[in-house]
Symmetry: C2
Subunit: 214 residues, 2 copies
């Protein structure tokens, strides 16, 4: 234990900070399949994520079937068109040029759901905030994101989907809540700056602006 803790030294912390800084939401993938065993390794690490009351409410559906992928792609297109209709002028023109998903190319795709009905954990910690089930799934996704980046693999989070449609498309229980749909693969390029920032959609704010003292 102390041996392992000792490995969290200045060098590791600096590389961890670089990992946080270089993680990107990837939308441009290379089509090559992931090396054997990578996906299993990422999901094994995801299991170490925190979950409310140790409930492990994460449920993953790895989507390989072309017909299902086509339906997800169509749902994204429909939702994205509706989103585009909500912007005007230059915003609309810029939005239309953004590439917001790597659904055509990413070799691995999966959906993440939460199962609030799970009996594991006996409901501990989620009586007043049942949404902590979804938050646990987000922590698992973020774990995958970081671990993937450390292997040179990019993840892209697709949220422009109607969550109510997804359980039927992927044939999972209707009670499962979609947390997100994800693309995994080798990125076309590594980038130090978020694409939305590079393209002028949004700028980051100083953190001090978002911290209050009470």
């Amino acid at each position: 234990m102390s041996t392992v803790a000792a490995a969290f030294d200045d060098g590791f912390r600096a590389t961890l900070a670089a990992l946080f800084a270089l993680r990107r939401d990837v939308r441009h993938f290379r089509p090559d399949p992931l090396p054997e065993g990578v996906l299993e390794r990422l999901f094994a690490l995801a299991r170490l994520a925190p979950s409310v009351g140790l409930s492990e409410p994460w449920r993953f559906a790895i989507v390989a079937d072309p017909a299902r992928r086509t339906r997800v792609r169509a749902l994204f297109e429909a939702c994205n068109q509706r989103a585009l209709a909500g912007y005007d002028g230059e915003r609309a023109a810029l939005y239309a040029r953004l590439k917001l998903a790597g659904l055509d190319i990413a070799p691995v795709q999966f959906a993440a759901f939460s199962d609030r009905a799970t009996e594991q954990g006996a409901g501990l910690g989620r009586q007043t905030m049942p949404e902590t089930a979804e938050y646990s799934v987000v922590a698992a996704i973020h774990t995958i994101w970081l671990a993937a980046r450390a292997e040179g693999i990019g993840l892209g989070w697709v949220s422009i989907l109607d969550p109510a449609e997804m359980p039927e498309i992927l044939d999972v229980p209707r009670s499962w809540r979609l947390v997100g749909y994800f693309c995994l693969g080798r990125p076309e390029e590594e980038a130090t700056i978020p694409e939305l920032q590079r393209l002028g959609w949004a700028a980051r704010a100083p953190m001090s602006q978002n911290i209050l003292n009470r």
Copy 2:
């Protein structure tokens, strides 16, 4: 760039996996204050977390005022008593023995909220799933959690709170949504196994049980 990427080598990945495995939800803290500069460093890293449409909807309230801490503590007690009332027999006896928050001792405490009304990011990616604002805050929290653990500092997530009460207690906009309340400090002990597992509240499931192929 390639220099940094090259630092993500087998040694780093192994230590990163150990970090995931050794991160704990800490409820037993030492009272000593955190070293100067740690909190600022953790929040600076949190800013590198992914956020939907680069909206950075995270809002943090660092709670130092004893009167506010007392009110949070009282709210936790009330919610925890109600939760206890929902268990019977051995479950109730075990629940009553669990320590579910380090609110009395943790030297640093903060609340995390999401601001869905933020104009940053112009709503991109969150038309169909507005809850992605909260998910962005969770990713920031998980970033703090990992970075803190790499400095030997523990974080405890308190979710046994009525989220509707918290904006008033902490004097933040009523429209902000509570994502969680957090304790930070040196842990009394390092642990390789989650406390809820050690105490027999819940057991982890094999990940394979939670993965479907579609």
